[in-house]
């Protein structure tokens, strides 16, 4: 047990646990390893995006909405145009494809977000014009001189207020302020067993409400990009992006030019934590370089980074558990509200990921979840370190403590009793493997001086799982609640065509939409069958029959979310 630091925390390895599963003896853990890029870091020579000097560099800054929600009656840039040092003022009409959604390259979600909006703002700080000037100070002054006439609209800042009838519609294409999943539901569903029936039979019902605020990634380097014309009809773009080819594809789509004309250079990121995937800066910097013929830098200052930089989205969770007197959790229901803010960005996907994680690392035979991606007039949310998981994990683990209190058990014992064991069936219909929660909990108990019962002290993740615990539920209660009309199940293109953007340009590498092979025609006009006798489950050979309808949606995200069989 080697101490990593002279005075830091002691790291202790328990190589006895799962010794048969590892042959590397954990050689790398706990030892500082020399990073290949660290010489540049300690000499101050690592080339961050802003560490490239260009003669004649122009500076781009945006005019931003002072309102949470407002229609734009008129944008008058004439005063800004006449300001000292101003080279060009851009508005929405200058952007070739002025509507995008971040995951459109993966055919997920409708284009919903203008690059520079000219009709309506949906959050405070949304950009409505971009000023390009000789100096940053001149750009700042001219951005303040852009005159916008607003019709201020009522706004909504709370997820549950936003889905009430009569709430202000944040986006025209999602009038109920809810993302549409798989072309047909206003929420992402998880159904495993019959949670309602199990709740009715449980000894205790434990309810909880949990909430997590938005969290700003706050990298020390603010987000930005510098673009410049090259000599070969291409544009070079130095960027702080965390997702270079994602930003490349997004820029090609927004600018409607082949990606082969874009030369992206990145990889040196001054802290990202998820906040540098949104590809906000590259398209405008390149557009500026195209229209002025000069190098253009577009970077947020610290205030912008904190205000309009997309955070980890707020989440609100309602959890209801059915618990027996002996501590077994027999049912768990979730209702989740994920605050996407004003535009989709990555929130819809965060929910797909989060629902695959439910009900946490516990074998619960009846699980049900309705999780809503809700639009509000707050700053759009995006990726941040385990987004989609961390918020609900907080809810789950806080709830576990509440359950333990209800049945009078030690919370560590409750966790061991209910933990996944190898061979158990998870609620998203994958077998649990390489489980370790029991062993972790036992070590925690030892460190905390908690005496476990002999049975729980003897419990292991490799024994006691599988069998009945590994079987799919004999019956899964399904429903058609939350159906939405007017969207295709096989593609996220809006069938009505109304307010939908052009399809991704041929230069982007969007995969062909996968047709749903066996599902019946989507969007039945009336609910097809009473919810009590849905045709889905056939208990005997559960694997194939139960999976098909769920799979056609879930498979699409398998590579995106990193889910794979272990």
């Amino acid at each position: 047990m080697k101490d990593m630091t002279t005075s830091g925390p002691m790291i202790e390895f328990r190589k006895d646990l799962f010794a048969d599963e590892r042959d590397d003896n954990l050689n790398e853990i706990g030892k500082p390893t020399r990073r290949q890029d660290i010489l540049g870091h300690v000499t101050g020579r690592s080339p961050f995006f802003d560490d490239h000097l260009f003669d004649g560099l122009l500076h781009l800054r945006c005019t931003r909405s002072p309102h949470h929600h407002a229609r734009i009656r008129r944008i008058d840039t004439s005063a800004a145009d006449r300001m000292p040092g101003v080279v060009r003022v851009l508005t929405g009409k200058d952007v070739p494809t002025n509507l995008n959604t971040l995951l459109s390259l993966l055919d997920f979600g409708l284009d919903d977000e203008p690059i520079l909006t000219d009709t309506k703002v949906a959050y405070m700080g949304e950009p409505v014009a971009a000023v390009i000037a000789e100096t940053e100070a001149q750009a700042r002054a001219a951005a303040a001189a852009v005159v916008v006439e607003w019709d201020v609209l009522p706004h909504v800042l709370d997820v549950e207020e936003a889905i009430k009838p009569g709430a202000p519609a944040v986006l025209d294409i999602y009038p109920n302020n809810l993302f549409v999943y798989h072309g047909k539901y206003d929420h992402q569903k998880l159904r495993f067993g019959d949670a309602d029936r199990a709740l009715a039979e449980a000894d205790h019902i434990v309810e909880g409400r949990y909430q997590m605020s938005p969290i700003e990634q706050a990298p020390i380097e603010t987000c930005g990009a510098i673009a410049a014309p090259e000599q070969n009809d291409r544009f070079v773009c130095y960027t702080s992006t965390q997702a270079l080819f994602f930003s490349l594809g997004t820029a090609a789509k927004v600018l409607n030019i082949p990606s082969s004309r874009l030369h992206f250079i990145g990889g040196t990121v001054g802290g990202g934590f998820g906040g540098k995937v949104d590809s906000i800066h590259e398209p405008l910097a390149i557009l500026g370089a195209m229209l002025t013929g000069r190098p253009v830098k577009y970077a947020w200052d610290r205030a912008e980074e904190m205000q309009v930089g997309a955070p980890r989205g707020a989440e609100r969770w309602y959890v209801t558990d059915g618990v027996m007197n002996d501590g077994r959790i027999v049912a768990r229901k979730f209702t989740g509200y994920f605050d996407a803010g004003a535009y989709t960005r990555l929130s819809s996907y965060a929910i797909i990921k989060g629902v695959g994680h439910l009900p946490g690392p516990y074998t619960i035979p009846n699980v049900s979840a309705n999780v809503y991606c809700v639009y509000t007039n707050r700053t759009p949310a995006t990726a941040m370190r385990g987004f989609g998981i961390t918020g609900v994990d907080f809810a789950i683990e806080a709830h576990m403590d509440k359950v333990a209190e209800t049945v009078g058990m030690n919370p560590i014992e409750l966790r061991i009793l209910n933990a996944y064991r190898d061979g158990d069936m998870k609620a998203h219909r994958r077998e649990a493997k390489n489980c370790a929660l029991i062993e972790c909990a036992q070590v925690v108990a030892e460190k905390a001086g908690v005496t476990l019962s002999p049975e729980l002290k003897a419990a292991t993740s490799v024994t006691g799982g599988g069998g009945a615990r590994g079987a799919l539920p004999a019956h899964t209660a399904t429903d058609e609640d939350g159906q939405v009309e007017g969207f295709q199940a096989t593609s996220y293109a809006n069938t009505s065509g109304a307010s939908s953007a052009p399809q991704p340009s041929p230069t982007t590498s969007a995969p062909a939409p996968q047709p749903i092979t066996s599902a019946p025609a989507p969007r039945p006009a009336t609910p097809p069958a009473p919810p009590t006798s849905t045709p889905t489950p056939s208990p005997t050979p559960p694997a194939a029959a139960d999976k098909k309808p769920a799979r056609s949606g879930a498979m699409r995200f398998s590579s995106l979310s990193g889910f794979r069989r272990r």
Binding site: G8, P32, R35, I38, G40, V42, G44, E221, T222, G270
Partner: protein
Amino acid sequence: MVKKPVNLTLNDSPRAAFADPGQNLLDFLRREIGDLSPKFGCGQGTCGACTVTIDGQTQLSCLVLAETVDGKEVRTASGLANGATLDPLQDAFMDHFAAQCGYCTPGMLVSARTLLDRNPRPTRDEVIEAISGNLCRCTGYEPIITAILSVAEGRARA
């Protein structure tokens, strides 16, 4: 706008350039002189990424007017190495994984070097205080403190 000539000694070299009125030292060093090691993090004296020394005192270059360093001695992280020979602090940062994204590192190193020049054998608390104006968002504070202390102890043995 009348630019002002600024003569300074940067990392032992005489340097001169013209500063715009109101231009801060961070921007001046990066754009006019070409020393890119001080970084912009906040522009409001909060994060410490732009830390330099002026006549031996640590300063936040984003809050210093460029024209005020005329005739003064400025040091930055790019002056720590002597040719190919690194400062022991730089070696220690590499050995102890004291940099992740690397953006706070130049400012952190300047603060650490200033501390050790003044106090070659600081306590852990003195190290923490010396870098308390330098934010690290990858939260590598422990390895950074360890790296700085390792140099302090190495000197004590030498």
